[in-house]
Symmetry: D3
Subunit: 294 residues, 6 copies
């Protein structure tokens, strides 16, 4: 399948294999062995239609490639024409994409397409809200590993659509030393040293600390970044001062839309927000039929 012409060049390319596998699985889940028995009973095989994916609420779009793949998996004669690109802000009524072709195919794939786009756009929308809240500060809003099982690639992409940044993808591509690791290693210094010795030269090391004393200890041992866990605004400010620009500082824990601005203003480099992926409500999208040929 050719890449969608309307893809946003500033966003990463989602690997095609991931899209195809996820869409195939979602369709299998919805179609079972018997398929769409309602549409088969009520819509003629030759019927065609033009439909539009439209926003019902304000938000940020994400997941157009998955919607397209869903419709085209039903019938590769479907034309999918995006009117905006992933990352675009939309309002109630904004037409996001047009779909034309077999009416049966459009009706059968509709829910799978919206289930992907609604969730991804919900994440992009919530991310944008956090990003907008810290505008003018140095803080980057980043995601976590608290993603939906099976959908991490799409959810981290959606965070990018909302203007956020990505933390490590998984356990495999960066080191994040947490309290239990420190205890097991016999101290923060030993943990960082072990991490440097074990990991490849292309792997970054971050350490989670709870106190400013721990921060001082860690700074002496060469991490690339430090996660400041559940610190007060005052502690965060002191941490920024202690660090004095040496490593990246990430604030984490208890972040909400109410608190994020104040956290950002302490001067931290990064604020990680689990809610971006674990608690974003869906963006309300719908499909409207503009014309149909029975």
């Amino acid at each position: 399948m050719t890449p969608t012409g309307g893809a946003n060049p500033d966003l990463p390319r989602l690997p095609r294999g991931l899209i195809d596998e996820a869409v195939a699985k979602a369709l299998a889940e919805d179609l079972g062995l018997a398929g769409d028995i309602t549409t088969d009973a009520t819509v003629k095989a030759a019927a065609t239609a033009i439909a539009v994916i439209a926003a019902r609420k304000d938000g940020v779009v994400s997941g157009l490639a998955l919607a397209e793949a869903a419709f085209r998996a039903l019938d590769d004669g479907i034309t999918f024409n995006p009117h905006v690109r992933d990352g675009a802000a939309v309002m109630p009524g904004t037409k996001i994409a047009s779909i034309s072709g077999s009416a049966r195919a459009i009706l059968t794939a509709e829910r799978v397409a919206l289930n992907f786009m609604g969730r991804m756009s919900g994440i992009a929308t919530l991310t944008r809200a956090y990003v907008d809240s810290v505008a003018g500060t140095r803080a980057v809003i980043v995601d976590t590993r608290k993603t939906t099982p099976g959908l991490r690639a799409f959810e981290k992409y959606a965070v990018r659509c909302g203007g956020g940044g990505n933390h490590r993808t998984g356990l495999f591509d960066a080191i994040l030393i947490k309290d239990n690791h420190i205890v097991a290693a016999g101290g923060a210094a030993q943990a960082v040293k072990a991490a440097r010795a074990h990991a490849g030269h292309m792997v970054k090391v971050e350490v989670e600390v709870d106190t400013l004393d721990q921060l001082r200890e860690v700074l002496a041992h060469g991490a690339d970044a430090v996660l400041l866990d559940n610190m007060s605004l005052d502690e965060l400010r002191q941490a920024v001062a202690i660090n004095d620009g040496r490593v990246l500082l990430e604030a984490s824990g208890g972040v909400s839309l109410d608190t994020v601005r104040a956290i950002a203003e302490t001067g931290v480099d990064l604020i990680s927000v689990g809610a971006l992926t674990h608690s974003a409500p869906v963006l309300d999208l719908g499909i409207d039929f503009e014309s149909a040929q029975r």
Copy 2:
């Protein structure tokens, strides 16, 4: 793998193959090719630990079998001992399950286990809130097909854990005739007739209507249930009167925790709530290490 001894006998059994496949995929996503490089660097291979999954907020538990499968996929020497069963109400601090064995295995599987349980428990918790809101009425709270792609079986199970009921699983197991189907079939009567002719004798037929006139037309043609889409409380009350117990009536659209009680009091049989699965925030769960042997 033996079924968890503590499974709640009033809940459906989740097919083992679905659990194993979902957990394997989630672990693959988090481990990549290189695995958990932080734990490998900092925790000795022989270290053991006892850890506890604990609630940080009030809620309803769901997904114990997936958490167990995640830990045991890392090391089948892990002992997983649930203290409550799926469907149990928990408070901050409630110990949900104990895990003992390889410290590396526990640390590596922790996030995948919590990602499943957090989401499923979030759905169960939100469902319970809706169910409690309609206590004493005849209304059953049911889910929709607005589920996370790839996780429908688990999310519909979580709705059951919260005391809700399941609407159809997918496009394949029941007929739900919506507006576009009615238009394509040439009217509601024709649509119902076509559905009866097409579907097997073990398949139920529901029709979505927007107006009371449509309800009257549909009642004359033998559907098993009618979905009343976005009707006012007054219309719902009239619908209940018009129906007079003939078919099941389902209210849908614009349902929130603020409005659900009033909707239920109109006398409808079912209230479907997309938010149960598309917008439930995660239930905050954590893993605490109670003891460790380095």
Copy 3:
């Protein structure tokens, strides 16, 4: 791949993903690692041919989409042109479809294509014989879960091609309470009550009974259908009288082409026949080469 233009609009659409997966598996089974070593040795890469799938016996066609997928999986330059549609009656010599393109591709995919179509057409043919036997009665001939592992979707579709109806797809989409369930539940009434309480509102409940007393008990408790297991013609007639149109009555057990007419004439609504899918002989089909260009 585009849906076959010649698909019969009165039949359900088989989910594309199921077709592709089944055909890929069948080809993998036949090609192994080394492929078609006979054709590679004896037929030039550039050779083309026109071949015809033809009936060798009377029967009913089913499975054209799988045959097409098999040929096109070998070479997507193949043109597959059906002359009849699934569900069509054919005689010895009837040309069912033409295939033109790479001679190697046609020869290599031939057996897989015929293995699918032969089995599915065999089921359709046997189903048609049963359906014709009960013409003029109210009885619908339906299938069972006694299908070939891995091919249930295709076999239930083939039953439709033969004019039969589908019973439930699997254990998941309808309730069928059998003797062991009744014993376990503590009686038929308790079993029906438990089923209603457990299953969603879109799920139908059928109960299997062996005696007329059991039928009377079950009718009092609200099943949607009753399966009359291995009853004599006289018992069936009494059952129809007792039921008096309240629920659907299904006759099952010991049904053959010799007995089915008499069973239908008792007035039952449905007759289920395991043999449709577990013992249908293949329909004899062949592929004839009409022209070849070496």
Copy 4:
């Protein structure tokens, strides 16, 4: 999983991976996302039972390993105890295997287990009938590639259980030159020569001929076997005389239980019978519950 203790040492071992994959797929097909809703509603989680797979008709058993795998996939606490081995002849009432453990697991896996065993035993039974018909002659009854898509390994194993032999597994492991290959190669001699040149030294070459003249031509060019297609008994006898023991002779086409003895008495080495795998009726097997603990 340990190999079944009762496996017949004279039969090939079925690769474990094939069994597990086929059983998993069959269970997935029958359980869908919601599982066995009837059993969940009516049978207590703690209930146990002892059940017996019993023959309802005379026949030959095949597929015990698949039945065991089906039950144990539901609950690995199930004990599966075979009373006979694959290849055993059974009569109505013969107890084939006992299953004890979770009543829910036994009820849920029952149909999948029987669907495998019934089909495989049906093939073994029909094969045994052919084998018995040619007793005392030199002819071996062999199968073809006319197998059920996805189940070839099991069906060819079932033929062995019935006392038959296996022809090539697929297109990849032996050469069988048919009419179209001969035409494409420019003659039988050229085809055999090309086959020898193309195939590895461990690959046998068989050629299909329609006439005795073709047989003579082929014998001059070094095939390992010759398939005599649709020849009369008289032609077969002449072919045996012409061949004079040089290569293996296989009779094929129009073989039935009525004709097979006469064909065998012509002196051919092999008789291939497509019906063994494409048209064998199921062997009627059932599961009886001997005791249950609610």
Copy 5:
């Protein structure tokens, strides 16, 4: 996907399903969840390029279809134009294929394409060296089962590209009786007899012997081929004399480019060389960008 126009008609066709599966897996391994982050950051989405796969060393080409599949999996708008065919000899600088289209797609798939072609061409190149070394003798150079797990089909194809022959594909398609089998069977004669009784009529039987006495024993019992394991040149010559053309003789063990000619001159029919697939160095290939449009 259409078969590559430039495929060499004298080589076997690799099953399409194997190619697609292997390429998809290799791309998944290289792209993970986040894709090619370097190219996404530095190359514009609209950029196009023309690139050439070129040889850096002398060798024999193999694997063009896998390279093509890799590029086209990234973007099916890519044009892949082979200048030579599998099996062609190349020199440093020989242009093997041109690729034109999306610059991002070419850069992202480059390493996967080269990883396949480099390995396969390395095997073809080493095979050609052995084949050339025995030119003029009767000996055929053949491979073994010492292949890379997961890539056997491609490696055995690469041996063919180098002019070698294939030994059996796996454990399933031919019998090779080794020392442990002989001991277990109670002697070589018993082993051969058991093999003939167990295997189908289309399966060849080879026996491995260490001594000339064993050879004499085996010749008396009807094997199709004999593997002479680690024999001296003198023993090999005697073996050829003893055999006197009755069965195929295969020399194996301790074969190198230094020794293979002398082994061939003993008169054996086949020389098997594990190194062809287990120790062939990669053929050095590179991709040069000829033009680019940013």
Copy 6:
């Protein structure tokens, strides 16, 4: 399956899912549909044996977990007892592991087990040779992405067993800007800037340079590492001086066992060697049967 007791705690854990999938695929490839027909014919089902994996040459062991998985996939009653751990140096005759249990299972899995271990040990052995060659210098020997498709995780693990380090895993976990990326981005400075802007904060950035001028330009723009491509020893020394410890310097291109020491002595931090994974000959391992019970 429980992790092997003898695993080397200084090496990373290979994800269990990757091992199981690779072993299952390799066995499927070798067993096909018919399984190990030689062993089935010649070895009794009840026969047991004790066998030993032994080294035939000097080398470094890698892949014990895959060998164990292969044997146990055939029969989980097999006992696999490693005598050394991955990373151990062995000599001809060193006993690496003992296997006891079903003789059939041992014979059938033998080749798959050795194919994995031979390749992985070959890579570990070659890596150790490079590592030993640079002993006493600061240089770390690292791998590349020139790995066997489908086996990257195992090959990178084998490099670790040999004492080498891992470069990035794939395109997804680190940025490596090569010449074409620089051209596309409009210069090295722009490329680094784009990379920093695009990649997450946990991702390292390396740039490939051909000249010392390019090195100076890149150093001014903040890469984490610089790859010095195909530079002379003199250039490498100058590069080390220019860099003065600011970033990691990696030498690449034209590295062999003859040249690696001199390269290391220039003071570079890393030397990457494609040959570790693309051209390592197999380590010669064998399986000896120590006792057998027929």
